[in-house]
Symmetry: C2
Subunit: 171 residues, 2 copies
């Protein structure tokens, strides 16, 4: 019976180990993403004063005379976010993976989850990024017909943490 027990333990450990990769793709840190989870390549690391923390951009479509929309996939590491900014022709954000934050000036921070969509109005200052404990991958669709994005000040830690600090006020 001892021999049988050893065999059961060995095969079970093997089974659990071989399942592991397939079962841990959700909400892993960015570095541990699997090919299966990513739809678009992560792209290049963003080196810009308009971002706080680590983020990556894959420019999928450049705006031109044929189509005035720019489309990009942005991956935010946990805690990373844009500065406050606004778009003269608005923006549409599609949440592809993870858990993100979105806030318009004067409103509370909202959670954005995989599969959700946000429509940012024209010229309204806002910011978006990852939540503290999860990466966030978004596709942003930005009309360029009225000019470039206007960038403002960085999102402070107090602003960023207001979702956690104001949880009772959030719906």
């Amino acid at each position: 019976m001892k021999m049988i027990s050893i065999v059961i333990i060995a095969v079970t450990v093997f089974a659990l180990t071989s399942c592991n990769n397939a079962n841990t793709t959700k909400d892993e840190p960015v570095g541990a993403q699997t090919e299966k989870e990513l739809i678009f390549e992560r792209g290049d690391k963003i080196d810009s004063p308009n971002f706080t923390g680590n983020a990556w951009l894959n420019n999928l479509v450049t705006a031109d005379d044929e189509n005035q929309n720019a489309v990009g996939s942005v991956t935010f590491a946990p805690g990373a976010r844009t500065s406050w900014h606004s778009h003269p022709a608005g923006q549409i954000i599609l949440a592809l993976a993870g858990v993100g934050y979105y806030q318009e000036k004067g409103k509370l921070v909202e959670i954005i989850r995989k599969g959700e969509v946000v429509k940012c109005p024209h010229n309204i200052p806002h910011w978006h990024g990852a939540s503290p404990d999860s990466k966030f991958i978004q596709v942003a669709i930005t009309g360029r017909e009225n000019g470039p994005t206007a960038w403002f000040e960085p999102v402070t830690d107090d602003e960023y943490n207001s979702y956690i600090n104001n949880k009772d006020k959030n719906k």
Copy 2:
């Protein structure tokens, strides 16, 4: 030893069975998609003469004064496709899953795979859909500023099968 063999077989069968769901999400028929694979809900079955085969639409964003783009996730079952059509303000297609077909009038059928992007020019008749052996999930971004989509005749089986029949001509 006979007892050990039975235990090994039993535990191995259990292990393989319990891994099965996690390892077969890629390129399964639409009905077998897992929650993990879907980013957006599949939406409603399309009941329209402008589609051949089974397809589903999830309207993610409706065009309005705030943003002239309509965004929708379309899931095509293997073999399903749109009719020929054109967009007065063009269209951007983001391939989210599976293997699709795309063809502009007068050109060869192209394969579109997960992670690839197609920019359809203004007023150029084209069609898109799934390949014969795989579903195809796309997000379509369609500008409504110049009016609605113009719909033409269905894609015939000869047109649809031209990718397979002309494989030597395809790059």
